[in-house]
Subunit: 134 residues, 2 copies
């Protein structure tokens, strides 16, 4: 085609195992937790590769990343590819994907009013889910 960055993306055993795990797990986990789960199930994948694979998947939009209040990165494979946010149970980690078109427009409007460009935002909602509240 051309000289731009075509992003290869090869199918390797390790990547297959990481993506397989992500499809089963439905919570936000750290790279190290995911690595631990892979080892538990006998998958021989290096921690470095887990990080690199997640990094790549975040860039391609296949995986969402957030951070704990401590600054640790959390990864999760979300069902919708569109931009969205999360409602997370602080007890069990159960996650609901949410969208807020009006809120999105509001952030852009506010940023624009103050002369800021190249806008990005982070929004996470934490609560206690009904099951954990009982």
């Amino acid at each position: 085609m051309n000289g731009s960055t075509p992003t290869p993306a090869r199918t390797t055993r390790q990547r297959t195992e990481v993506t397989a795990l992500l499809q089963e797990v439905n919570d936000f986990l750290t790279a190290q937790q995911l690595h631990g789960l892979l080892r538990e199930r006998g998958a021989k994948v290096g921690l470095t590769t887990v990080y690199r694979t997640l990094q790549r998947m975040v860039e391609t939009g296949e995986v969402d990343a957030t951070r704990t209040p401590d600054g640790e990165q959390l990864f999760r494979q979300c069902s919708r590819s569109r931009h969205h946010h999360h409602l997370v149970c602080r007890m069990c980690g159960r996650t609901v994907e949410i969208e807020g078109p009006a809120m999105e427009r509001w952030t852009e409007k506010v940023a624009d009013q103050h002369g800021y460009t190249d806008i990005a935002h982070t929004l996470e909602i934490f609560g206690t889910c009904s099951a954990c509240a009982r």
Copy 2:
């Protein structure tokens, strides 16, 4: 008096210098940037003390802390004590405090609809301010 935690809080030269700087600067800066500024103005304060002082001020609510998308901590002394959010320049840290009553209500409504209680949320908007966009 008793054995509870009365929170001492002594007045030291170092703490005075840190709080003085925070009152002059009203951008979100990292602990290291603040430490650098202190040294520039000739204040002899150790980096450790800067971290510890900021930590304490965050706990007492005197200072607000956020994180850059990279996970670095940012500190700032905010003018309003009421709940608010920030529009932060990713280049220089210039900050605008913003409120979004409608957005607040929206997060509560969404959380309630999904049966989540005891709601809390984080929202930060990052952009490039007009000066840095130059």
